[in-house]
């Protein structure tokens, strides 16, 4: 299997099928990274497309000096931050649960599990929003996107030690915020 760098170099040489392969590998990750950043399902696809358009447009200048995912998530972070700042999406938990537009037909039977997951999603998002930006990004990249400390350090342009500190501090704050949902045995109401 070709590496991301090899695919990107083929894209630079004009092979669009290589870029399609890159998108197949990374699109879902970027989409969910943006979704967790903004908690806006409807905008996440557009923003994810924007991220890959920027990567594609920059293909002619690409130099394989760092991991492709580092570059990709750097762009994804910039796009997400710009969008959040533009839209000022620090919305309250109540607004999120009212206006997601997912379950408009009240006659449809919705399982408790789905309702609970939807609530937990909003609870987690609200807790994440209270974290300083770098701690939030560090946790999202390490926990959800599976980036190493080193890759996350490249995205955040800091040291590995700083990333570990961000993850550590962010995690402690989340434990305090989400204490009511954390039981000793790890069962949280399902």
């Amino acid at each position: 299997m070709e590496s991301d760098i090899e695919l990107m170099l083929r894209t630079k040489a004009g092979d669009d099928s290589a870029f399609s392969e890159l998108m197949n590998r990374h699109y879902k990750g970027v989409l969910n990274y943006i979704y967790r950043f903004t908690n806006l399902k409807e905008n996440s696809e557009d923003l994810a497309q924007e991220v890959f358009l920027r990567v594609y447009r920059s293909a002619s200048k690409y130099r394989p000096e760092a991991k492709f995912t580092t570059w990709l998530y750097k762009i994804a972070t910039n796009v997400s931050l710009t969008h959040v700042k533009k839209k000022n999406t620090n919305i309250s938990l109540d607004e999120m649960t009212e206006n997601t537009g997912e379950y408009e037909d009240s006659e449809v039977e919705i399982s408790d599990d789905i309702i609970y997951r939807k609530e937990m999603k909003n609870v987690i998002f609200s807790a994440m929003e209270t974290l300083p930006e770098r701690e939030k990004i560090a946790i999202m990249l390490c926990k959800y996107e599976g980036l190493s400390y080193e890759e996350t350090a490249n995205v955040l342009e800091c040291t590995v030690g700083a990333v570990k500190a961000y993850v550590h501090r962010g995690r402690m704050k989340l434990v305090n915020k989400l204490k009511p949902y954390l039981t000793e045995e790890g069962e949280y109401g399902l």
Partner: protein, 168 residues
């Protein structure tokens, strides 16, 4: 190690980031401290809780949507007939040298051209003299023309210096 030190290390312990000595110290403390054991459990539970955040599935058409947008972009970024101008890779040194040669040629031609009156470097007195000569020529032409119709106005004055007189 006391509880305060252990709590600092708990997350690293849960992530497997501790060296063997520190790991042994933490585990030894956890055996006898329910509070720290509870904190560790909460930290692990948090990580599990974060995993309940559902993932989105990409739109089935995400690839074709992307290439449609990329194609639109390509049209926008490539203007029409001026595209070739945009693509010219200019050798600035050569362009500067040619511009200088052109400028010097213009100036040289202008200064040393024998058939043109070069007013640029002329003194003010010489310019005034030329203006007066032009004026005299213009007046002489006009006067000769008038006299041809009406004759001389001052009673026989030799107007043109050729013995031709005016009106008496």
């Amino acid at each position: 190690m006391d509880c305060k030190n252990i709590k600092e290390l708990l997350i690293q312990y849960s992530l497997g980031d501790l060296g063997s000595d520190e790991k042994a110290s933490v585990e030894s403390h956890l055996d006898s401290c329910n509070e720290c054991k509870s904190d560790l459990s909460e930290s692990k539970n948090l990580w599990s809780l974060l995993e309940t955040w559902d993932e989105l599935e990409p739109d089935a058409q995400f690839l074709s949507n992307f290439w449609d947008k990329a194609a639109v972009d390509e049209v926008k970024l490539k203007p029409g007939f001026l595209n070739w101008v945009r693509d010219i890779k200019l050798n600035w040194t050569l362009a500067g040298a040619m511009a200088s040669i052109f400028l010097v040629s213009i100036i040289t031609f202008g200064v040393f051209s024998p058939d043109m009156v070069n007013n640029l470097f002329m003194s003010d007195e010489r310019q005034d003299e030329l203006i007066l000569i032009e004026l005299d020529n213009a007046i002489s032409t006009e006067t000769a023309g008038v006299l041809a119709i009406y004759g001389a106005w001052d009673g026989g004055t030799d107007v043109d210096g050729n013995g031709n007189g005016g009106i008496n």
